[in-house]
């Protein structure tokens, strides 16, 4: 005798695993956009931009599957939290892919790559990618410790972002407007990548504990 509702549990687990795969695609896109931005790798930029359609297609398919499971299985308790969290997290991973596209587009644009600015963006990129990796790990392994740690780690990236803004505000000369515009756009998108990672972490916390405080934390 299989456990009661074994098929539903299997479907739920498959959905959770596939949301993790979507996260891996988003992570790959962010890594590619950083290679494009910091290493001036134009082919990496084109790959990120072209690859976003696959992320979008998987997102739509997963969303449809999740709606089907909600409609057919009327989940409650932990099952409901897994399903609703899957919907939230898949959206965050999909938006992360969009941020990677925006960074890749910044990389393709001609603007003065002032060395200190590029160094700050590099630091931000490393931190954003680390947070995204941790968020995906927290989701896939259902690791509440990794999930809880994300917000604190994001503070470091927020600090780097404020440093970037201060640095850009101090720029002068004819190249300054173009540098400020494009570097700020890239930095802002990296900061948002980290925000999505933090939301995934909060959502893992809610999924595992049911604590409404984690929901409130998402929107802070």
């Amino acid at each position: 005798m299989m456990p009661v509702r074994a098929h539903f549990q299997e479907d739920l687990e498959m959905l959770r695993v596939d949301v993790g795969a979507l996260g891996a695609m988003a992570e790959h896109a962010v890594a590619g956009s950083l290679r494009a931005l910091l290493g001036d790798d134009r082919s990496a930029a084109h790959a990120v931009i072209g690859g976003d359609d696959r992320i979008d297609a998987l997102f739509v398919a997963l969303e449809e599957r999740a709606y089907g499971l909600v409609a057919r299985q009327a989940p409650v308790a932990a099952d409901l939290r897994v399903l609703m969290s899957s919907l939230r997290v898949m959206a965050d991973f999909e938006k992360t892919g969009d941020r990677a596209v925006a960074v890749a587009k910044s990389a393709l644009t001609t603007w003065p790559r002032e060395s200190d600015t590029v160094a700050i963006l590099g630091r931000m990129g490393d931190l954003a990618l680390e947070l995204l990796r941790a968020a995906r790990k927290a989701w896939v392994d259902q690791d509440i410790e990794v999930a809880c740690d994300l917000r604190q780690r994001d503070d470091v990236l927020d600090g780097a972002y404020r440093h970037l803004v201060a640095h850009l505000l101090a720029q002068e000369g004819p190249y300054a407007p173009s540098l400020v515009l494009h570097a700020h756009t890239a930095g802002r998108n990296l900061e948002r990548v980290a925000d999505h990672a933090v939301i995934v972490g909060e959502r893992v916390g809610y999924m595992l504990t049911g604590d409404p405080g984690a929901l409130a934390a998402e929107v802070r």
């Binding site: 299989m2 709606y67 409609a71």
Partner: protein, 268 residues
């Protein structure tokens, strides 16, 4: 014609074309057209009096046992007219088994309940093997293998219903019809039967009538929604098929307003 009367994929087991069922002069079910496909679970849902059980009983000629009931229209089973004069209703019921609303084991041992059908049908099988296989497929063997000679009526309601499924399976049918098989069971026993249906559909075509919409949503591949509406000819309410489609479609984006109203609990 209703939205989506033909199920995609798989061989057609039942091909119904404008099937009506009359109780005497009263037409209880009006011109139903739909296909039931092999290896799928097809659910019939709808409010009381919509004709879903009436149609289910027409699928294995159960109405033959009731005086004054008449089935009209074309009802083909693998392309053969189920109601042709030369067709033996007993043979039909062996190929197309039925599990009823309330578990109805015979007041005999667990073993005898399962062995009864193969014995009567004179199947060329070893009874012990046949009983074990049927009970295993019905996910009951492990619970009863050490007390096969105990009375079937001592089993719990959920076990009795699985025994009835084993009894239906023992005569090697192709189709299992289930008439609200979980309505007398508690939620856990219900979920066990639902999981069992998922196991069984690999080998059997299943048609289930259920009042429990969520059950149809959980277990079935295809769902037919019936309702009762006033029949102009008889000035009485008769069952009609409103919509037949993939279950996921019925429960996420039905084509008919009446289906939407029913599945979302605003009517019925």
């Amino acid at each position: 014609m209703v939205a989506g009367t033909h199920a995609p994929d798989g061989d057609v087991v039942f091909d119904m074309d404008e099937v009506s069922v009359h109780y005497g002069s009263f037409r209880a079910l009006r011109e139903v057209t739909l296909d039931v496909r092999k290896g799928q679970i097809t659910a019939f849902i709808g409010p009381s009096g919509c004709g879903k059980t009436t149609l289910l009983r027409a699928l294995n000629r159960m109405h033959d046992l009731t005086t004054g009931v008449r089935v009209e229209g074309r009802l083909l089973y693998h392309g053969h007219d189920l109601y042709a004069p030369e067709v033996d209703a007993v043979v039909v019921r062996r190929r197309i088994g039925m599990v009823f609303q309330r578990p109805n084991p015979f007041p005999k041992s667990i073993y005898d309940n399962v062995a009864f059908g193969p014995k009567v049908a004179k199947l060329d099988v070893t009874l012990d093997d046949c009983v074990e296989e049927a009970l295993t497929r019905a996910a009951l063997w492990n619970e009863v293998k050490d007390r096969l000679k105990s009375s079937a009526t001592d089993l719990s309601g959920g076990q009795q219903q699985r025994l009835c499924i084993a009894r239906a399976i023992a005569v090697q049918p192709e189709v299992i019809l289930m008439d609200e098989p979980c309505s007398a069971l508690d939620p856990v026993a219900t979920l066990r039967i639902e999981d069992l249906m998922q196991e069984l559909k690999a080998d059997y075509t299943i048609v289930i009538v259920t009042h429990n919409m969520q059950q149809a949503a959980r277990v079935s591949d295809m769902t037919a929604f019936f309702t009762a509406e006033v029949d102009a000819q008889a000035d009485r309410r008769a069952g009609v098929l409103v919509e037949f489609d993939r279950t996921e479609k019925i429960f996420t984006n039905p084509s008919e307003e009446r289906t939407e109203a029913y599945v979302s609990g605003r009517f019925g």
